[in-house]
Symmetry: C2
Subunit: 231 residues, 2 copies
DNA sequence: AACAGCGGAATTGTATGCAGAACGTGCCGC
DNA sequence: GCGGCACGTTCTGCATACAATTCCGCTGTT
């Protein structure tokens, strides 16, 4: 999972600095939910927990802040980002458009191998729909979307889309518990795959947009009920 | 110009840490071309130049790296980003799509005041087309695009678009020397404004996409001739 | 009893020192 | 004469120490 956020040169070099290691550890904990939105990140405490000095901890926190996973203010502890509802909706909307772009470009630009890879990822997901292993499903789902990022043949766009996906990740965890959702998700994927393989850009983009916006609505239902139960 | 890259809370608090100050200074120098792509950023030297310790310099460099303006590899000096031609084309393409999205949303969502602001910025540019002051034109041009970001009513999308714009900035400087380009640019803007004010989303998006892709082609011509003259 | 002002404690921001990795230089072997 | 290797220098990565700011609780006043 953490590999998803690795830039190419990092993957090649093998991250060897403590700061990078910490960044990935913290990012995983945030996305996995071990560090809930709003949690304060105490530099000294984290330094103790990881048995390093404050210097790499600070660096990691700043990098996370630049990525949007945490928010910092001068002379105040960094806190795990807790975007407003409106902002979160905006992030979902942007993600929908970005993913739609990737899907659209993929429809026009994918090579034969890339199309096969997309089909393979799609088939893998089909098998997992009824498997009941949310973790594996999640990983394969990321691989499916990753295939579309690669097929767009635009590394920068792929980065933007993936970054957005990661930033939204902490707020999508609940949906993977909802196994009924998986089957519907697969049907939506199916429409995307079909359009991409046929080279129909507009249809692929629209199918993907619909897919992501459905995810967004799922979140809204969950967030709404959670907010209600908190009252 | 540096204000463009300020997040809201930074602008409110007034950046008070050395690291943030350095980040903006360096970002400006990179975007203005004082630090050319490929230049190595020596931490010790920068610390001397700004009369601070290496610590805030390091932080600033890392933040710039996270923003994509510089590239870092472990145990090696950071260098001002010099994306490959292909990657740069991808960045332009992504920028075109993002700006098109903003323009499209603006067509649907802009309030009355926002529409007036857009028209005002557009008129300001009209006056500057023949003024021959590239710096002022540049600032007003950013304001024009900024009006469209705001009108999209999606802060996250606005950030993505602006960030992309800033990352590409170092490679667009040449075009502002080309005064003949300004008039054409204004005509393109005109099509965008007209569509936005009429609420025609698709047409606004297409006009903006065309505008940015023209900018991209302008760059290609410049980059191509520069590469040729270097041989 | 509630609030304003103040002082200490805790935490972030910055400086400095040290260890290890990467590059340049000169020597040696071929 | 040319390529490879070892050494020394230089720079980055990390640790630690100090300074500045914020937060929390206290006291005194109204």
């Amino acid at each position: 999972m953490s590999d998803l956020s690795l830039a190419p040169q990092e993957a090649r070099a093998g991250r060897r600095t403590l700061a990078d290691e910490l960044r990935h550890q913290l990012a995983d904990q945030i996305m996995y939910g071990a560090l809930a939105p709003g949690t304060a990140l105490d530099e000294t405490e984290l330094a103790r927990r990881f048995a390093v000095s404050r210097t790499p901890v600070r660096e990691a926190i700043r990098l996370l802040a630049a990525g949007g996973l945490v928010e910092t203010r001068p002379h105040r502890a960094a806190v795990v980002a807790r975007p407003s509802h409106q902002r979160l909706i905006g992030m979902f909307e942007a993600m929908a458009e970005l993913e739609a772009l990737c899907a659209g470009f993929s429809a026009e630009r994918m090579s034969g191998n890339e199309r096969h890879a997309l089909e393979a990822a799609h088939e893998e997901l089909r098998a997992l729909v009824h498997g009941g292993d949310p973790q594996r499903y999640h990983e394969s789902n990321e691989a499916f979307h990753g295939a579309l990022y690669a097929g767009a043949h635009n590394a920068y766009l792929a980065e933007l889309t993936l970054t957005t996906r990661l930033r939204v990740a902490p707020f999508r965890r609940a949906q993977f518990r909802n196994l009924g959702r998986l089957a519907k998700s697969h049907v939506e994927h199916d429409r995307v795959v079909e359009a991409v393989l046929r080279g129909e850009r507009a249809r692929a983009a629209e199918a993907m947009r619909a897919h992501i916006m459905t995810v967004c609505r799922e979140y809204e239902v969950y967030a709404g009920s959670a907010a209600a139960s908190r009252v």
